[in-house]
């Protein structure tokens, strides 16, 4: 909850629905938008 504008992004390592892994460092040097979805159903 301490993350704010100007903070370093939170590291993550998560799988997507195809099984591929995504890590924050994979996106170094790129603009990245994380969209936190509400319920899907």
């Amino acid at each position: 909850m301490n993350v704010h504008v100007g903070s370093p992004a939170v590291p993550f390592s998560l799988q997507d629905t195809t099984g591929a892994w995504h890590r924050l460092e994979d996106y170094t040097g790129k603009w990245l938008l994380l969209v936190f979805h509400r319920h899907l159903r």
Partner: protein
């Protein structure tokens, strides 16, 4: 999400990478990604560790079912959209985080209800500005 999807080509032209994060079960999320032909990866965060880290909280009854939600539903109907009966954990709120190429958070929007989404221009403005200044 529909706003983002409508502007997927513009987002791509800016070189912005999009990752959608869901707390739902893998099978539910996979069905959703396929049904919606989602153009971006849909990441699975069943423990909600990233939701928690960014402070994406849970809504109170009034936030979830208050006038802002009904107003959003009305606008959706006017645009010809469909309203589905919601199921699953409807109290989990969403949000958006824009990270710059150095790994710094530039926009952090924690939704305060189902209808509380930042405008696309608010999300894209820092990216567009950086492109102009580097041109």
């Amino acid at each position: 999400m529909s706003q983002l999807r409508r502007h997927a080509s513009k987002i791509e032209s800016l070189g912005l990478q999009v990752l959608v994060v869901s707390f739902e079960r893998a099978d539910v999320a996979a069905d959703y990604a396929q049904e919606m032909a989602l153009p971006w990866p849909l990441l699975l965060d069943p423990l909600r560790s990233l939701y928690t880290a960014y402070g994406m909280g849970r809504g109170h009854w009034w936030q979830i079912w208050g006038p802002a939600t009904w107003w959003a539903y009305a606008r959706l109907l006017v645009r010809g959209g469909r309203i589905k009966r919601p199921s699953g954990d409807v109290d989990q709120l969403g949000g958006d985080v824009l990270v710059d190429p150095t790994g710094k958070v530039v926009v952090l929007h924690r939704g305060e209800g189902p209808a509380d989404r930042p405008t696309l221009s608010h999300l894209l403005e820092p990216v567009s500005r950086a492109r102009v200044s580097s041109a």
